[in-house]
């Protein structure tokens, strides 16, 4: 685990803070790990969490899912790479279209039944049933859309997936519809379900209470469901048959707070719970009493203003450059965002990937004014109306936006307003016919994973396929294609660098800053590990080693 490798650069304070967390961790109190005991946490609190989810559906809440089910591969501890988990090894043919995976030996389900490749195949068939009831197919698409026959199966034209073949109890072969040099990197959310215990139909996926009913639930992760009190908590009991050994804890309780971070923080300080996600502004006052966890490698939250490029006011690049020059992003990240954010030149949040010659736009109001003059645009005529969703309606982002407002009014752009709305309104504020308002939002981009395309799409972040860009400059589509097809990690990083340079020059949207997300844990917990993984992970948090004194 290389603590500082690939960490976001930027301001000294940002770096210092990240360094301290690393140090606090490596020390780790030496006391013997006592077996037994119960740990109460708010594991699924925060933007990456989803308190009511079940695997394969909500696109979040993976910290809890991975406690119940194991996946073929998984992010490592600091999310710098995807490593084997349920599988022992894998091999692919030379054009990366056929992948063969071998499960570890002796894997058991929580009820003692052996886990075999058949369970894996069963899960694949189950999730691609045409009438599969899941509400958010994100994870399913991530895990299975590349498999040959996926479209036919999901459309109901075929009754089984061509691309899946069980060789023997521990071996399974995937045939892809297109080459993917890192297919193993698409399986980190493939929660394998027990074929012998799943007693509900794919259509009832969202309505069954199988995932919460201790009498029917069978899992493979370190814990199993022991009690579920909707909207209150879920109690997980140790799984004797977990392949990495019985967890030290007897019980892991995940308490729900309806998504309110202040409520969870109060519970932490009242010692009712031992861990929760905390907002960046709370970190300074928590540092001395709690262990602060934050992302060490793939820094998480990238925040940006999306332009509506159809609106001709922004079509001239000089206007966009002027706006960026007018805002002192370093002052904002340093003072207002409490030093846990750093400003970024392009939508790649990893400083080590920024090329030396990337164009940066430092704070230079005079330059901004002259650019506007050059473009013949009267600053007073520019109207910027930003819409953000309520996830960012907190002190930090509100203050940062008001600071941007103040800076822009200094160069004459006074017509600037912003408001936070609920997610459907936020999404409805984007309409394909182009009259949408500009958006202020952030999202986590995992360093790896096939949705790198999202890096440059906007339009309410509709993901691949739909871009708000009517920006016809060439070079973007090719740059993204190069990223996903990069065979080795160095090619991958280089491709990201090129994309970053191109983006900084074209400025299709206004990159603001990237910040970290934080968790605070009671020092009494041993071997505890938490990462604000982009969209919740999952990652190796070695939950079986967690222990309370």
């Amino acid at each position: 685990m290389s603590p500082l490798h690939g960490n976001a650069g930027g301001t000294a304070l940002g770096r210092k803070l990240l360094a301290t967390t690393a140090v606090a961790l490596t020390l780790g109190l030496a006391g013997p790990a006592l077996a037994g005991g119960s740990l109460v946490t708010a594991l699924d609190m925060g933007p990456g969490g989803d308190e009511d989810a079940r695997p394969w559906s909500s696109g979040a809440g993976h910290t809890t899912h991975v406690k119940q089910f194991i996946t073929p591969t998984i992010f490592n501890e600091d999310l710098s790479e995807i490593v084997p988990y349920a599988v022992e090894s894998w091999a692919s043919n030379d054009d990366h279209t056929v992948w063969t995976y071998t499960l570890r030996d002796g894997l058991l389900w929580s009820d003692g039944t052996p886990m075999t490749a058949n369970d894996w195949a069963f899960t694949a068939e189950f999730m691609t049933a045409p009438d599969w009831g899941g509400d958010r197919p994100g994870d399913r698409n991530l895990s299975l859309s590349e498999v040959a026959g996926f479209d036919a199966k999901t459309a109901g034209e075929a009754d089984s997936l061509d691309g899946i073949e069980v060789i023997d109890d521990r071996t399974i072969r995937f045939t892809l519809s297109a080459p993917n040099p890192r297919h193993f990197a698409s399986l980190f959310r493939f929660y394998i379900l027990p074929e012998h215990a799943v007693d509900f139909e794919p259509a009832d996926f969202m309505t069954t209470d199988w995932f919460r009913d201790p009498s029917r639930f069978v899992g493979s992760g370190p814990f199993v469901v022991a009690e579920y009190a909707p909207d209150e908590y879920m109690t997980l009991a140790a799984n004797e048959n977990y392949f990495q050994g019985r967890p030290a804890l007897d019980e892991l309780v995940i308490r729900y707070f309806g998504g309110d971070q202040t409520a969870a923080l109060l519970a932490l300080e009242a010692d009712d719970i031992d861990f929760t996600y905390v907002t960046e502004t709370d970190v300074p006052s928590l540092e001395d009493d709690y262990d602060i966890f934050s992302n060490l490698s793939g820094v998480v939250v990238m925040t940006r203003f999306n332009y509506n490029l159809v609106d001709d006011a922004f079509s001239d690049i000089r206007v966009r450059q002027a706006i960026l020059h007018a805002i002192d992003r370093d002052a904002i990240t340093e003072n207002i965002l409490g030093g846990t954010y750093v400003s970024i030149p392009c939508p790649i949040p990893y400083a080590d990937l920024w090329p030396e010659d990337v164009v940066t736009y430092g704070y230079d109001p005079d330059r901004a004014a002259s650019l506007l003059q050059e473009a013949g645009v009267d600053p007073g005529s520019i109207s910027m109306e930003w819409v953000g969703h309520a996830g960012y309606d907190n002190t930090a982002h509100n203050s940062a936006l008001q600071a941007v407002q103040a800076y822009l009014s200094q160069i004459g752009i006074n017509d600037f307003s912003y408001r936070f709305v609920d997610i459907p309104t936020f999404r409805a504020s984007y309409s394909p016919d182009g009259d949408w308002q500009n958006q202020y939002h952030g999202f986590g981009v995992p360093r790896f994973g096939n949705d790198v395309g999202r890096l440059w799409s906007n339009g309410g972040a509709l993901g691949t396929g739909v871009t708000g860009y009517d920006y016809d400059a060439d070079g973007f589509a090719e740059a993204v294609a190069a990223i996903s097809a990069a065979p080795t990690i160095d090619d991958y990083n280089a491709a990201l660098g090129d994309f970053c340079r191109l983006h900084a020059e074209m400025l299709p949207d206004l990159q603001m800053w990237v910040g970290n997300r934080f968790g605070a844990a009671d020092p009494s917990i041993e071997n505890f590990w938490w990462q604000p993984a982009p969209a919740g992970g999952p990652y190796q948090d070695n939950a079986h080693t967690w222990a309370v004194q």
């Binding site: 923080l265 203050s399 936006l401 407002q405």
Partner: protein, 292 residues
């Protein structure tokens, strides 16, 4: 044998004379006056720009040059509280006034005229009461967008049921009493009967109602910003300044950011209440007759 000169004072004059004897109400009126003046003429009482960014003075506790300290953007809290008062007082009083007027009109219609009028008005009240405000505010917000006038109409337009039911309850009680029948026999028009004879009796609960309507309006405005409807930042209001306390760090380590607007809101509501107390006594019909 001089005849003692006896002049009959108009009710308003009598009321004002009796109101003046009401120490607490006079003090409350004075304090309210001070608050209104402070907010209305804020520029005279503070040199700072309520919206200006001041990187050098971020999150400063109260000091000589910033009496009440500064907020997360280095803006002076004393200034923002005054400017915020402008918005909050306008919203509070206007929304309260609007909801009270609607409430009185509908309450009187259903209480006095009864039968069909009562049935229709009360069923409308039922329907409005059956909607938690959030769903109406959300939909209206989508069409009207944020802004002071919209906020006033939304808060005012949703808070009238209690007033209506209150006025109706009182009117029902008064409608069949002798003095009302007597007034009818004198051929007085319904309008006069209602305004001159019945409404004074309703002043007491109405005053309580207005006091709440004002404080509720001031606080609801803050809640609306959560739906993207409230007065948009950076314009300060007492409501959105108090909301800063949602951030635990501000709540416990930087209280000077949210306590001043809370104190102003509390004082305003208290003053309105005691002025209302004084008004109620001053205009109390019983009191006038009682002076045998």
């Amino acid at each position: 044998m001089a005849m003692t000169e006896v002049t009959i004072d108009s009710p308003a004059k009598v009321a004002w004379r009796r109101f003046r004897q009401h120490r607490i109400a006079m003090v409350a009126l004075a304090v309210l006056g001070v608050i209104v003046i402070l907010c209305a003429f804020a520029p005279f009482f503070s040199g700072y720009d309520p919206l200006g960014l001041n990187m050098a003075a971020i999150r400063q506790p109260p000091s000589a040059d910033h009496w009440l300290g500064t907020d997360t953007l280095g803006r002076d809290i004393w200034t923002r509280t005054l400017y915020g008062g402008r918005v909050s007082l306008v919203i509070g009083l206007a929304a309260a006034f609007l909801s009270t007027i609607i409430g009185i009109v509908l309450g009187v219609i259903s209480g006095y005229f009864g039968k069909w009028a009562d049935m229709v008005v009360m069923r409308i009240t039922d329907v409005v009461m059956a909607f938690p405000p959030i769903i109406i505010m959300l939909t209206v917000a989508a069409f009207t967008g944020p802004g002071l006038v919209n906020v006033i109409f939304i808060i005012g337009g949703l808070r009238w049921p209690p007033t209506a039911r209150l006025v109706r309850g009182q009117i029902l009680q008064l409608r069949d009493q002798d003095f009302v029948t007597a007034a009818r026999t004198l051929g007085l028009t319904n309008a006069i009967i209602i305004t001159r004879h019945m409404l004074p009796h309703v002043v007491a609960p109405l005053v309580a109602n207005i006091t709440f309507a004002v404080s509720l309006a001031i606080l609801t405005e803050a809640g609306l910003s959560f739906l993207g409807l409230g007065v948009p930042l950076p314009t300060p209001t007492w409501g959105n300044m108090m909301e800063a306390a949602r951030d635990l760090r501000i709540m416990r380590e930087e209280p000077w950011m949210w306590i001043p607007p809370a104190i102003f809101t509390l004082t305003t509501v208290l003053c309105i209440n005691f002025v209302g107390d004084g008004l109620r006594d001053a205009f109390d019909p019983q009191q006038l007759i009682g002076e045998k």
